[in-house]
């Protein structure tokens, strides 16, 4: 108990008397966490972007007008049976006609032409959305069976196809780049943290030497440095959590506007996962800095 109080006292003195050094170390800790959280953030945004596009991308299958309800139903069942298919939405010929009329309500010539044709030129259609944009190719192939092909007038997808493949390769690349970047930053962070701690210990080398000479145990010499590392990690995580929560709150409104109907709340993401994200970051940082401290002190504790 007495030694615990002394360890805390020495830690406080060291933090206070080397305030600038504590501040620099703290800044480095915060910057390290910042890169980690930035990568996380980019990851959330890109996966939301993909989801946004995925939700918007659908393939429309138009039936030849007059196709029997039986066949249409069997196609729907067939599509729904595919594991790649998420939803199948039916648009009847009447709905299609109505949609067309609504869309061209301001264009009398189109409506006149429609009257000219007489009746309903549209057939029934189904709108298919997939679980994964890569699967559309498969779905389109799947529907071209000899059994169903004659009933299908047209599939409307080609416009999206290239966009999707481009987007998926782009986001895949982005994710890999993000991971490489994160790894790179983590490595640099480890080096910087290691050096910051080495400097902190170098500043205290006289004190460590004297402690050894007057008969202090190794663990007692180490304890204040370890406590300092843990405290600074905690403080850095706190500062970082504050920055992340404030900035994501501010980012949310423009982000939601950009992505439209897809619900992208970075704030919600970070708050609902706060314990895992910030807790994990604190633990990782505290562990890293403590290990570094022990390692950096080895030289000074030798004699």
């Amino acid at each position: 108990m007495r030694t615990l109080i002394r360890v805390i006292k020495f830690t406080g003195q060291s933090l206070w008397r080397n305030a600038w050094l504590s501040l620099i170390t703290l800044t480095i800790f915060v910057l390290t966490l910042m890169t980690v959280n930035a990568v996380l953030l980019v990851n959330v945004v890109t996966s939301s972007a993909i989801r946004a596009v995925q939700n918007e991308v659908q393939v429309a299958v138009y039936f030849v007008p007059g196709t029997s309800q039986e066949t249409e139903k069997s196609v729907r069942g067939y599509l729904l049976g595919l594991s790649q298919v998420k939803t199948v939405e039916v648009i009847t010929a009447d709905q299609a006609l109505q949609n067309f009329k609504d869309k061209n309500a301001g264009d009398p010539t189109v409506l006149a032409a429609l009257d000219e044709v007489g009746g309903n030129p549209f057939g029934d259609a189904v709108v298919v959305s997939a679980n994964n944009p890569q699967d559309f190719d498969f779905i389109l192939q799947a529907i071209k069976t000899p059994e169903y092909a004659p009933s299908i007038k047209q599939t409307d997808y080609t416009d999206y196809q290239t966009v999707i493949s481009k987007l998926t390769t782009f986001t895949d690349k982005l994710r890999i780049a993000g991971l490489i970047l994160a790894g790179f930053f983590a490595l640099i962070s480890i080096l910087i943290i290691f050096n910051a701690i080495r400097i902190a210990i170098y500043v205290h080398r006289d004190e460590i030497g004297i402690m050894k000479l007057v008969g202090a145990q190794d663990w007692f010499i180490r304890a204040p440095f370890l406590l300092e590392a843990v405290l600074l990690s905690l403080l850095a995580t706190g500062v970082m959590a504050g920055v992340v929560l404030v900035s994501t709150k501010a980012l949310d409104v423009p982000l939601m506007q950009y992505f439209g109907q897809v619900n992208v709340s970075l704030w919600a993401y970070f708050t609902s996962n706060a314990l895992i994200i910030f807790g994990g970051e604190f633990l990782a940082l505290a562990l890293l800095s403590s290990l570094t401290t022990v390692f950096a002190m080895r030289k000074h504790l030798r004699v």
Binding site: R2, T3, R6, R17, D206, E207, G209, I210, M211, K212, L213, V214, G215, A216, Q217, D218, F220, I221, V303
Partner: protein
């Protein structure tokens, strides 16, 4: 109290600092170890408080064989041997009182004991009125007194002083030696490493002379013999 038996110390890669050194110091003795620069005096002192380990031979302190002392036992040894250096080794950001108290704090002493012992030892070294000064507010002699006070807090059986007067003028040096003699009179064994001829001659105590890592003379009431 201290027994060196055939001690050799070779620094890597092949610097032989001590060569077959044997001697015995009785409890309560005051021994001066003299020799020119580079003769191995500091090495001998470091072996005593286990800052270095001997390459061969045997070292016994009290009845404790410290030849191959485990690092976890070194703190215990250092609480029994007070050390004093030429450069004082004080913490500049701590007051006189705090510098001395520090040695007890790190050893886990109780607060009441610290409050009792620190003023006592500061009084012994003649700094009873300077508790709140910082090292830079003291003369060299006073700083050395602080470091001697710190060496005394564990009530050590042995004090090892490596050139304690190396940074001090003649008058101040004499005062520091007087202080060490006083401490010796209380019963503490003192090992004084020095190359100061006048000090040794005035002391009229046992003198161990070492040269080139070997003991070349060992006389009671000795004089500084080497040039």
């Amino acid at each position: 109290m201290i027994r060196f038996t055939n001690i050799s110390k070779v620094y890597k890669p092949n610097m032989t600092a001590l060569h077959g050194v044997s001697f015995h110091v009785k409890p309560g003795e005051f021994v001066s170890i003299v020799g020119s620069s580079g003769s191995g005096k500091t090495t001998l002192a470091k072996l005593l408080f286990a800052e270095e380990k001997p390459t061969s031979g045997k070292i016994v302190v009290g009845d404790w064989d410290i030849t191959s002392i485990h690092r976890s036992e070194i703190p215990t040894l250092r609480r029994q041997i007070g050390v004093v250096f030429q450069d004082f080794k004080l913490l500049s950001r701590k007051t006189v009182y705090e510098n001395v108290a520090f040695a007890l704090e790190v050893a886990g002493a109780a607060n009441v004991r610290i409050k009792e012992v620190v003023p006592q030892v500061l009084k012994i070294v003649g700094l009873g009125d300077k508790h709140e000064r910082y090292p830079h507010q003291l003369s060299g002699g006073e700083q050395q007194r602080v470091s001697i006070a710190r060496a005394l807090v564990h009530r050590p059986k042995i004090i090892v002083a490596d050139e304690p007067t190396g940074n001090l003028d003649t008058v101040t040096s004499r005062e520091i030696i007087e202080l060490l003699k006083k401490i010796n009179e209380f019963g503490t064994t003192v090992v004084l490493v020095t190359h100061d001829r006048d000090i040794v001659n005035a002391l009229k105590k046992r003198v161990l002379t070492i040269n080139g890592g070997k003991i070349v003379s060992d006389v009671e009431h000795g004089k500084y013999v080497l040039g």
